[in-house]
């Protein structure tokens, strides 16, 4: 398809790229991390459901394969357009209007901490139409409501085509809520991020 003028323009004016996903999202998100150019000039926040105390090398693996600086969010980190951030396990990651992160340990949302909804909703308030969000594969409904909030604030919202998602429930929930501006195959999502 079908990367039309609208989608390209809205992507290009974005200052923040949000990538959310759960089961089955690691592969497409990792591919994005591998392929974003060092001069993307947008901050990236990755929210993937993770188990606490699970000492994966996710951060290291991602960092070794990224051309942008990549780090796990620390409280009050100032959002930098040359960095990919990963939402830490066992915290929610929020965005303050001063464009810095703040963390929160309050209850899980959809059994998830980090919750994609929480990050999406606070990003919507701060970035409005200067933001692009992509919701990938997952086995629950986290992210759908947040994506709708983003869409209502003017952000560009994209959902991975559920037909090719490993776990279609999460992208489908967003489509059912009418939270998606566009439903794209991953190859088109990769294509867009290169424009």
């Amino acid at each position: 398809m079908a990367l039309n003028q609208d989608i390209i323009q809205r992507w290009q004016k974005s200052e923040l790229l949000l990538l959310g996903g759960s089961a089955g999202s690691l592969k497409p998100i990792f591919t994005i991390v591998q392929n974003v150019p060092s001069n993307l000039n947008k901050a990236v926040l990755i929210i993937i459901h993770r188990k606490k105390n699970f000492f994966s090398d996710l951060e290291n693996l991602f960092a070794e394969n990224s051309r942008m600086l990549l780090k796990e969010v620390n409280d009050k980190d100032v959002i930098d357009k040359e960095t990919i951030y990963i939402a830490p396990a066992n915290y929610h990651t929020l965005i303050e209007k001063e464009k810095c992160f703040s963390l929160d340990v309050s209850d899980a949302v959809w059994y998830s901490k980090p919750s994609i909804d929480v990050s999406f909703e606070s990003a919507a308030e701060v970035y409005k139409d200067r933001c692009t969000a992509v919701l990938f594969s997952g086995a629950n409904q986290d992210g759908a409501q947040g994506l709708l909030t983003l869409r209502n604030s003017g952000a560009l919202t994209i959902v991975q085509n559920p037909a090719e998602a490993e776990m279609p429930e999460m992208p489908q929930a967003a489509i059912d809520l009418k939270a998606a501006d566009y439903v794209l195959d991953t190859k088109d999502i990769f294509q867009l991020l290169k424009t």
Partner: protein, 276 residues
């Protein structure tokens, strides 16, 4: 959804903060706004209150305020949250503490007491319980009552079993509790050298001198200028070479305080007071 808002404007948020400050004396003006706002909206949605209704009950119903305070402060806590932190404490700090005659510890923002008892279990295992005393403080009296009781649901305690095991302590977490039906009560001797009382980090001052202050996942709710005011309070409350433990994702950013607190474990954010 009636007229329950999905959002609060900056002005509305500040109006609520000013109202709470002038009537109840709690000052939320330097709290991190994104999470404060999220919790305010949750109260409004749960209680089906519009912005004007909320102002009305805050002004006219003091009983409502206690519930409100519990809702807008985050009281989620775990025993042995971040097991690697407890491991580091055991390896790098406990040996220091064991050389002291007496150790006073301040657990600031202790909520329902899980962290106080985690520390006490650690001290007990190291044979330091009898010469240690832990002060747990919070702004929330309801939470402090829970902490004093030291009774938790068995399901909750079982959910900390993995944390406990990963922290490297021997046995199992349940060994430190007396279980009755679905409740788990912390052993009496672990409660003996603890005291829980009200202290507001925003407005209250130094009340004792400590060898260790633990304030984990509290700074995340504060803006940087408030964090720094509290760092100053902690500095003044620590004995020379006393330890400060922050949450795993909380850091000391200013050069001024970096010179006053030496990092002894940067990953777990354990610091030691230097200078005087």
């Amino acid at each position: 959804m009636l007229d329950i808002p999905g959002s609060l404007t900056v002005n509305e948020l500040h109006e609520l903060i000013d109202l709470v400050k002038s009537i109840y004396g709690f000052d939320f003006s330097d709290y991190s706004k994104a999470s404060l706002k999220r919790r305010l909206l949750r109260v409004m949605q749960q209680k089906k209150l519009s912005f004007y209704d909320l102002k009305h009950v805050l002004i006219n119903d003091p009983a409502f305020f206690q519930m409100f305070l519990e809702e807008i402060t985050v009281n989620v806590t775990e025993m042995f949250r971040d097991p690697t932190f407890y491991k580091a404490l055991n390896n790098q700090v406990i040996p220091y503490l064991s050389s002291y005659q007496h150790t006073k510890i301040w657990c600031a923002g202790c909520s329902s007491g899980e962290e106080v008892y985690s520390l006490m279990i650690l001290l007990n295992e190291a044979g330091l319980r009898k010469k240690s005393f832990i002060y747990g403080t919070d702004i929330n009296t309801e939470m402090l009552n829970e902490a004093r009781k030291g009774i938790y649901s068995l399901r909750k305690i079982k959910s900390y079993a993995e944390n406990y095991q990963l922290s490297g302590l021997s046995g199992s977490i349940i060994d430190h509790f007396t279980v009755l039906y679905d409740a788990a009560s912390i052993h009496n001797e672990l409660k003996q050298n603890t005291l829980f009382s009200v202290h507001n980090l925003v407005s209250d001052g130094v009340f004792n001198e400590f060898q260790l202050i633990s304030c984990r996942n509290v700074f995340i709710y504060f803006e940087i200028k408030l964090q720094e005011r509290i760092l100053d309070l902690f500095y003044k409350s620590l004995a020379p070479l006393g330890f400060l433990c922050l949450g795993t994702k909380e850091t000391i950013r200013s050069d001024y305080f970096r010179k006053k607190f030496k990092a002894i474990n940067l990953k777990e954010n354990i610091y030691q007071k230097i200078g005087s």
